[in-house]
Amino acid sequence: MMPRLQVVRPDEEPDDAGQERPEELRLLEAMLFASADPLDEKSLAARLPQGVDVHGALIRLQEEYAARGVNLVRIGGKWTFRTAGDLSWLLSKETVETRKLSRAAIETLAIIAYHQPVTRAEIEELRGVTTSKGSVDVLLETGWIRPRGRRKSPGRPVTYGTSEAFLSHFGLDAVGDLPGLEELKGSGLLDGRLPPGFSVPVPSDDPALRDDEDPLEPGELDLGLVPPPERTGDK
């Protein structure tokens, strides 16, 4: 005799397809769903008609829900519904909020881009104003700048340069594509009232350390200054 094919739905018992689902499963479902805390078998049994195999019913309910978006789990001997572990991503909402960089941060970024590798003292020198640590921190958070090394000079200050994320954000192929003196003048961004000898460097973000740079000690900037790796590199 050919075996009869049976359509098996997750909420149906294969052996007794036509049979009514026991009422205690409905009762357990409702109690476990509504309860503000996980429930133990004893308190569940107290609400159920006498003679019901509570443990057996819970195991069956657990099987029924095993493949669902919500699972019946036992925590510390008590039962409760929980979102399936593989769906936890559904329950988090990730939003992107656009923030505008402050004027000071943009100015600092511009100096770093053109004059890299550059230390904070040098940025201040070029800007003619004190650069707050905050500006550099914000720029590190954007992932657009990165600490490159340490200048071989008293105090061994950190040198900063731009990252790949900087290039991709500003749509640049290479940092050397930033407009030079003549282009800045031509576009009217710089006017003619410039002292003789005024120059705009041709920037380079070559990761190779310069002669006056020492490498950073490993891990020395991991104290929250440097954004986590997956953030710095992303677009």
Binding site: A34, L101, A113, D191
Partner: protein, 281 residues
């Protein structure tokens, strides 16, 4: 135009009450106002509200009020207003208005009252049905342990290339015009040198070779002249202030420095001449 009933009613509105008698403010046995009372009386007639006799209802209401009055119950004003109105309506219904064309006819008023009663009865019916529904947290329940949605915010910084370039150009322009000093600064400032020397003499009370100490700062050979020059100038200043002592055996011999010690003869010397006897140079 007043009916005898009306007169009687108004005359008796203020029942005489002995001074010490307690006044009971009664919501007439729990009725929610005169309309509610009328509705209850209408139900006693056990007929459809559409077919109810407003005249009979008015009679019942007035009789009820009269009864309450006899029991010296203090009636809420609403009930008395309704009683007055019903008495008026009754008189109009009994005496068809020949010479009162103004306003509603008595029949219209009766129909309006019946409609009000019907509307109240209808709303009570649906209120009962509404509250007969399963209610949240009484008959039905939502999830007892909702799992909150975690909100993760990712900041995205915005800045355009134009922002960047104009920021660069503007500040370069500004500083270039403000102080035209283009040479890259490679000097060790006097303040820096002084700070380093103070740290040096603070660390050890003994004579220390200045150049050996300084060498630790001179990583970049090109910086050596400025470090030495600034340090020497600063040390002269420190000696002049009487903070430091300096010692040199011979011209071009190494310089030794140490923190100045207070000696007895100096304690007597009130002139404040800074350089001690062994501190030449």
């Amino acid at each position: 135009m007043t009916s005898p009933e009306d007169n009687k009613f108004e005359a008796d509105l203020l029942p005489e009450r002995a001074a010490g008698e307690p006044a009971l403010v009664v919501d007439v046995e729990g009725f929610e106002g005169p309309l509610d009372l009328l509705l209850a009386l209408a139900r006693q007639q056990k007929v459809d509200l559409a077919k109810i006799s407003i005249l009979a209802l008015a009679d019942q209401y007035l009789a009820f009020i009269e009864e309450a009055r006899k029991l010296r119950l203090e009636l809420a004003a609403d009930y008395l207003v309704m009683a007055a109105w019903l008495a008026y309506l009754k008189s109009r219904l009994l005496l068809p208005d020949a010479d009162a064309p103004e306003g509603q006819s008595a029949e219209d008023m009766a129909i309006a009252l019946a409609l009000r009663l019907k509307r109240l009865e209808a709303i009570r019916g649906v209120a009962e049905r509404l509250f007969g529904r399963p209610q949240l947290d009484r008959e039905v329940f939502a999830r007892g342990q909702p799992e909150p949605i975690a909100h993760i915010k990712h900041p995205q910084w915005s800045a355009t290339l134009y922002d960047l370039l104009s920021a660069y150009a503007q500040q370069r322009q500004k500083t270039a015009l403000a102080h035209v000093r283009l040479a890259k600064r490679t000097v060790w400032s006097l303040a820096e040198a002084r700070e380093a020397l103070e740290r040096l003499i603070g660390r050890t009370p003994d004579w220390t070779r200045l150049d050996e100490y300084l060498i630790s700062f001179v990583v970049e050979p090109s910086l050596a002249p400025t470090v030495f020059a600034s340090s020497f100038a600063s040390s002269l200043e420190l000696v002049r202030e009487g903070v430091m002592e300096m010692h040199q055996h011979a011209p071009f011999a190494p310089l030794y420095v140490r923190k100045r010690r207070v000696t007895e003869n100096e304690a007597a010397d009130s002139g404040g001449v800074a350089a001690p006897s062994e501190g030449r140079e």
